[in-house]
Symmetry: C2
Subunit: 364 residues, 2 copies
C-alpha cells in the first residue's frame, strides 16, 4: 500500500470528510489503489441502512431525499446521500438544480452529499454506486440514501443494491398502472405518492393499492379479482368498487403472514414537508421487517456475492485485453473475419483456448 493511501485511510478512520470525499472519488473512478482501499474497508461494511429512492423524472425524488435526510438527522442519525444520474448525455443538466436544494442539509456535518454521473457503461454505474455506498457505510453513516435521477434499467439495477427501495410517483406521471407493470412493482418496498395535494393523487394511490391487493390476493389464493383487466376499469367509481375486495384480501394477507411485507402507499407533499416523518417511520418498519424475517441478511449476502462476481469478471477482462500479445493476435485475425474466412465465434473460441494461463495467473 502506498504511503498516500495509508495516510488517506488514517484520515478516513479519523472521520475526516476530505478523506471521505477522496476515497469516494478513488473508488468511483477506479483509480490506482481502489481495490486495496475497498478491501481494507470491507470489515467495516454492513452497519448502514441503505435506501434506494427511484421513480420517473419530475416526481420530486430529490426533494424527498433531502427531507428524509433532514428528519433522519433530527432523530440523531448521520446520513450519506448518493445522487446518481445515468441519463446523460441528453438530460445532464437536471442534476445541478436538484443539488442546490440539497444545500439546506449540506452544511450539517452529519450529512455527506455526493453526485455521481455515468461511468463508462451503465452496468459500471450501478457497480460504482454500490462501491460508493460501501465507502459511506464504512465511514460510519447510519443511513445511506441512494437517489437516482433518471429513467430506465440502470435505476432498477441501482435500486437493487439497496436494503429498501422507495418508489416515488406523482399523479401526473402518466399511466401509472403501465409504469407499475413494467418492473417497478417487483422492486418497490414502499411507495410515496408525492405532490399528494394535486388532482389525481387519490386515484393513483387507489390504483397502486389495487395492484398490490391483486398481487397479494393471488399470492394468498384469494379468488377475488383474478384476471381483472385493470385497463378496462375506465372510471373512478368502478376502480373504487373493484378496490374494496382487493384491500380486504391485502389486509388478510398482512394479518395471516407475519413474515410477509406489503408495500405501504404513503402520500407526501415534498414542497410543504408533509408526510415525510411518516415515510421515515415506514422505512423504519420495513427495516425491522427485514431484520425479523432474515431478508436483510439474505439481501446482503446476495450483494456480497454479486460483488465477487463483478470483481471476477472485471479482472478477467483486464487480464485478457490488457495483454499485448492477445490484442495483436486478435488484430491479425480481422482480415480473415472480414472476408468471411472465419467467424467471430470460431475466433473467440481460439482466443479462449490459448488464454488460459493469462486468466488464472495471480496478478491483476
Amino acid at each position: 500500500m502506498s504511503p498516500a493511501l495509508t495516510r488517506l485511510i488514517t484520515d478516513f478512520e479519523a472521520g475526516k470528510f476530505a478523506a471521505l470525499a477522496r476515497a469516494v472519488s478513488i473508488v468511483e473512478n477506479h483509480r490506482a489503489g481502489f481495490d486495496l482501499l475497498l478491501a481494507h474497508l470491507h470489515p467495516k461494511i454492513g452497519r448502514a441502512r441503505r435506501v434506494g429512492v427511484t421513480g420517473p423524472p419530475g416526481a420530486g425524488k430529490s426533494t424527498l431525499t433531502t427531507l428524509l435526510a433532514k428528519h433522519a438527522r433530527a432523530r440523531g442519525l448521520t446520513v450519506g446521500v448518493l445522487a446518481v444520474d445515468p441519463t446523460s448525455p441528453f438530460t445532464g443538466g437536471a442534476l445541478l438544480g436538484d443539488r442546490i436544494r440539497m444545500e439546506q442539509v449540506a452544511l450539517d456535518p452529519g450529512v455527506f452529499i455526493r453526485s455521481m454521473a455515468t461511468r463508462g457503461s451503465l452496468g459500471g454505474l450501478a457497480a460504482a454506486a454500490r462501491e460508493a455506498a460501501d465507502v459511506l457505510d464504512a465511514f460510519g453513516f447510519d443511513l445511506v440514501l441512494m437517489e437516482t435521477v433518471g429513467v430506465g434499467q440502470s435505476e432498477l439495477d441501482i435500486a437493487r443494491t439497496a436494503d429498501t427501495t422507495l418508489v416515488v410517483l406523482v399523479p401526473e406521471s402518466g399511466d401509472s398502472i403501465q409504469t407499475l407493470k413494467a418492473g417497478l412493482m417487483e422492486i418497490a418496498d414502499l411507495y410515496a405518492v408525492n405532490k399528494a395535494d394535486r388532482p389525481g393523487a387519490d386515484r393513483l394511490r387507489n390504483e397502486i393499492e389495487l395492484m398490490l391487493g391483486l398481487r397479494m390476493g393471488a399470492t394468498n389464493n384469494v379468488p377475488a379479482h383474478h384476471g381483472v383487466d385493470l385497463r378496462a376499469i375506465a372510471d373512478r367509481d368502478a376502480l373504487r368498487e373493484a378496490m374494496q375486495p382487493a384491500k380486504a384480501a391485502r389486509a388478510a394477507a398482512q394479518r395471516d403472514d407475519a413474515e410477509h411485507w406489503t408495500p405501504p402507499v404513503l402520500g407526501t407533499i415534498g414542497a410543504k414537508d408533509e408526510g415525510v416523518v411518516e415515510l421515515l417511520d415506514a422505512l423504519d418498519r420495513h427495516f425491522a421487517y427485514l431484520e425479523r424475517s432474515g431478508t436483510l441478511r439474505s439481501r446482503r449476502l446476495s450483494r456480497l456475492r454479486e460483488r465477487v462476481v463483478e470483481i471476477v469478471e472485471d479482472r478477467l477482462k483486464r487480464r485478457l485485453w490488457r495483454d499485448a500479445a492477445t490484442n495483436a493476435w486478435l488484430d491479425a485475425q480481422l482480415p480473415r473475419l472480414e472476408t468471411g474466412g472465419g467467424t467471430p465465434f470460431a475466433v473467440a473460441d481460439e482466443l479462449l483456448a490459448q488464454s488460459g494461463e493469462l486468466m488464472t495467473r495471480g496478478t491483476a
Copy 2:
C-alpha cells in the same frame, strides 16, 4: 445443426420474411442455436449500409426513419428498420404509437420493421441490436436503419455500431449546446434539425454549425474563436456574429482536406415530408466519403473486433457461472465475507486461480 435450424436457414436464404422474423427472434433472445445461426450468416454480412438515428425524445426520429425508408424504397433500395427502446420501464408506452406510423411503409415487401426492447442489461441491448442488424444485413437489405427511442448512454452504444450516425434535434429540445457538448457531437456524422418550421430552428442550426466550426477550426489550427465561451453568447445577434469566422474556418477545413468529413446540418419537417430527400442525399455523400477515405473498412473491422470481444466475454461468463462447483464454492465463502473474515477481492482471486481449466475448455 438441428433439422429445424437447417430448415430455417433454407427459408431465410430463399428470402422468406417469416424465416427472417424467426431468425431475428432467435438472435435477439439468444435462443438455442443463435451462435450457429450467426456463424452461418457471417460470410453474407457486410453488404448493407447501416444508419443509426438517435437524438432526444420527441425529436421525430420515428417519423424521419419512416420517411427515409419510403424515399430509399423509391430509389429501389430494400430497407430493414430496427427500432430499439432501452428506456423501459418508465417510458415503455411510447413505442407502440410510433410503430403505428410505420404502417405506411410496413405493407411494402421491400421493407422489414422490427422493434426491440431491453434485453437483460443495457450493454446486452447494444449487442443484440448489432446482432439483429447483422441478420438484416445477411438477408440482403441494402439499407438498415437503426432507430433508438430513448435517451442515454445505451443510445450512444447502439449508434456506434452503425456506419453512419444521424442525430435528430428539434428547436424545443432545450439547451442544444449542452446536449452537443455531452458526447453526441463525437458520434454525429449528420444532423437533422427537425420541425424546422418552428421558432428557434435557425438558431439551433446556427449553434450546431458554430460548434462544428469551432471544432474544425481547432483541428486545423485556425486561431479564431479558440476559447470562446458559448454559454456567454446570450443573444442571437452576437451568436450570428460569432458564427461567421467559424463558418469560414469550417469551409476552409473542408476545402483543405478531401479526406475529412464535416457533418452537415440539414433542416427537415417530418410532418410535411420536407427535406428528407436531401437528407438521403447527404447520407449517400457520407457513405461515399466512408468508402473513399477507408473509414468504412476501419469502422467495420473495429465492429468485427468488438464482436469477438463480446463473444469471448460472454463465453467466459457462461463457463464460469453455469458451473455448479464454482457456484457452490462461492456460496460457501459468503459467511466469512459477511463477518469480514475475507474480502471480495481475495475471494475473487481465489476463484480465478482455481477456474483456469473451466474457462479455456472447448465447449461453451
